[in-house]
């Protein structure tokens, strides 16, 4: 079993100039680990991180885009797995934090709980690669590859519950300010 905060800490250290799209329970820890970086957090629009990450990946094929998704979140927009596979963005790494519950709303089981196989779904849809990781040593060993291999790649990370959720640790910039800040960093306005 992986600890979400350890996973995120390792990603923050290894990401380079990748753009990251955290959602729900990955958001509070990510805000602390990467406070002023190339990220945009998706909270409140019901599973949109994977699609927003796809748009970023298509717009900026020169950069790696890493989606820090949740199993409950992805189920809300599961069709995005097919849309991503159809678009075949080579620079998209889709990391799925799988804990089997809607942690933010009180840890109710997701439909199907831990039996839902997102690796099979991603492979069936047409991702270039998809696999599951359950152990910290394997995660550390494979992390450099998952952040550089040709996408779209989905990695199902079997994690415990995060220490914080968007309900227990509110904060961070409002979404529109994150959008503006990231756009400014990516596009660099001309000096006036």
């Amino acid at each position: 079993m992986l600890k979400p905060e350890d996973v995120l800490r390792a990603i923050a250290a290894a990401r380079g100039d990748a753009v990251c799209v955290p959602t729900m329970t990955t958001a509070p820890a990510w805000r602390t680990l990467a406070p002023d970086d190339l990220s945009v957090t998706c909270v409140g629009f019901m599973g949109g991180a994977s699609a927003l990450g796809l748009g970023l990946a298509l717009a900026r094929p020169d950069r790696r885009v890493i989606v820090l998704d949740g199993d409950g979140s992805l189920l809300m927009q599961l069709g995005s797995v097919a849309t991503i596979a159809g678009a075949q963005p080579r620079n998209l790494t889709h990391l799925l934090f799988k804990n089997g519950v809607y942690h933010t709303s009180g840890a109710q089981d997701i439909p199907g709980g831990l039996t839902v196989d997102f690796v099979l779904m991603a492979k069936g849809a047409g991702y270039r690669n998809a696999y599951a990781i359950k152990e910290p040593t394997e995660f550390k060993r494979r992390l450099p590859t998952m952040l550089t291999e040709e996408g779209p790649v989905l990695v199902e990370l079997h994690t415990g519950l995060a220490e914080k959720t968007p309900m227990t640790d509110r904060g961070g910039l409002p979404f529109h300010r994150q959008i503006e800040a990231l756009r400014t960093k990516l596009l660099r306005p001309r000096a006036s």
Binding site: V40, C42, G44, F45, M46, G47, G48, A49, A51, L52, G53, L54, G55, L56, A57, L58, A59, R60, Q77, G79, S80, A82, T83, G86, A87, P174, F175, H176, I179, E180, L182, R183, L186, L187, R188, P189, R190, A191
Partner: protein, 186 residues
């Protein structure tokens, strides 16, 4: 009376609109993205605009991404906006209803200039859409009004200037804007 709009006219207008968007971006930023295409259509296929979608298959200057849901299309539009890519969402009124939370959470709260082209499937030619006997036609403009989304009708070829106008408006107001395609395109 409304008239059908030829697909070629809509596509030429979109190309001009995307060219203008790229020129605007080039004037604003240090290193504008360089792509061979002009922009993107994010589509959840709309019966009303099917001739446009068919013609876009042969149009290399515009990339078309078919999305599984309108929620996705709106979130993808936000990602494209972040990276400086112009796009238009081509959907149906029922798809607008299906994606209201993403319209709110991404386009409105995120201040993303999402530009929608919404087909009014089943709109009666002789009736104002607000008086349609079909709820999916009747509720479209009131819904957009409720969310403060500016919109205009494309009631014939003379209205295509609304496409660049509302695309520009979305960018200027940093939020969504929509044009409503009144009759099936030809």
């Amino acid at each position: 009376m409304p008239e059908s709009i030829p697909a070629s006219l809509i596509i030429d207008t979109l190309k001009d609109t995307f060219r203008e968007a790229r020129a605007w971006l080039a004037a604003e930023i240090a290193e504008p993205p360089r792509h061979t295409h002009l922009g993107w259509i994010l589509s959840v296929p709309d019966t009303h605009q099917k001739t446009v979608l068919a013609a876009l298959d042969k149009e290399p200057a515009i990339r078309v991404l078919t999305c599984a849901t309108e929620d996705e299309a709106t979130a993808i539009a936000a990602g494209l906006w972040l990276g400086g890519e112009p796009c238009a969402l081509m959907i149906q009124h029922a798809g607008l209803y299906a994606s209201v939370n993403t319209l709110r959470g991404v386009a409105i709260d995120g201040r993303v200039p999402a530009f929608y082209m919404i087909g009014l499937l089943s709109r009666e030619k002789e009736k104002d859409p607000r008086e349609s006997r079909h709820s999916m036609v009747r509720y479209c403009e009131p819904l957009l009004d409720t969310f403060g989304v500016p919109h205009a009708r494309l009631e014939g070829p003379d209205d295509v200037h609304r496409i660049p106008e509302y695309f520009r408006l979305a960018r200027e107001r940093r939020g969504p804007a929509a044009v409503l395609v009144g009759l099936e395109t030809i």
